[in-house]
């Protein structure tokens, strides 16, 4: 398993996911919910990188290739959670995979911007 490149993001947004459940709703609006699991699903982590060098950008693209795009889950490096004293999503319970392909835009000569969206995978 290839760990995500050790690059600190410029922006970061975490959508914390929800517990899998089914809901039955009556016409009165009353509802009954059935919980199907104990791990959060559809957690999304959006990472923005700005002004990366070509070598840094290649690290991300190579990692994406190694993980066969959105197929293979992986662990995050500590740099991804830089700023947190306690990582909000424990590596003991969740890995991550790419939620979609990576787009690369040119920020300035020889510098690149990208946004990466990851989705958690309970382990």
């Amino acid at each position: 398993m290839a760990t995500f490149p050790a690059l600190t993001p410029s922006t970061r947004s975490l959508s914390y996911g929800d517990y899998p459940q089914g809901t039955y709703e009556a016409v009165s609006g009353a509802n009954v919910r059935f919980k199907y699991g104990s791990d959060r699903v559809v957690q999304r982590l959006q990472l923005g990188y700005q002004y990366l060098t070509e070598a840094q950008m290649k690290l991300l693209l190579d990692h994406y290739e190694t993980q066969q795009s959105t197929l293979i889950p992986f662990a995050l490096s500590a740099e991804v959670w830089a700023g947190y004293a306690t990582v909000p999503v424990s590596a003991a319970y969740y890995e991550w995979r790419y939620a979609k392909s990576i787009g690369v835009e040119i920020a300035s000569p020889l510098r690149y911007n990208t946004t990466i969206e990851l989705e958690s995978v309970p382990i």
């Binding site: 947004s13 914390y16 996911g17 929800d18 609006g29 919910r33 919980k35 700023g83 909000p88």
Partner: protein
Amino acid sequence: MSTFPALVPSTRTFVTGAVPMAMQVALSGVVTGFRRGNRRIAQTLGLTFRLLEEADVTLIRNHYDNRSGSFDIFFLSSEIWNGYTTPPIPLLSDFAWRYTGAPTITDVAGHRWEVEVELETVPIDTGDLIFDAGLASASPARTYILDAGAAAAAPARDYTISPPGAL
């Protein structure tokens, strides 16, 4: 049943919801409404907390996990309605709340975070909700007990909101 963390939101949007109903429109254009319940549904409360420290972000995350995400219900703390003389939904009423979705946690300034949550009311059965009352031998069994019953109360309570004497 836990209470939402005592944090004052930076922004707050309350949508009052509506009584569940169905409308039938005749070919003539005459409209007939059929009420299907007597409790408002889809009351939502959008809260944004800005420039939180990590400890406060953790409070919200832990509460969300404690409630199993959007699965379980809870009451609000008075700080959530900060500014209201009379909250539009009383703190302890026949409406409880649940998360409609996951909190969004965004990094802002160094070591500060912004958290957005959206909540929705859940009508609860007032017959099941006992305020500062309820005996261990209460019958029929109550699902929600406020400030009542000991840990070993029988029949067992699914939700004990406050230990005796706390209110």
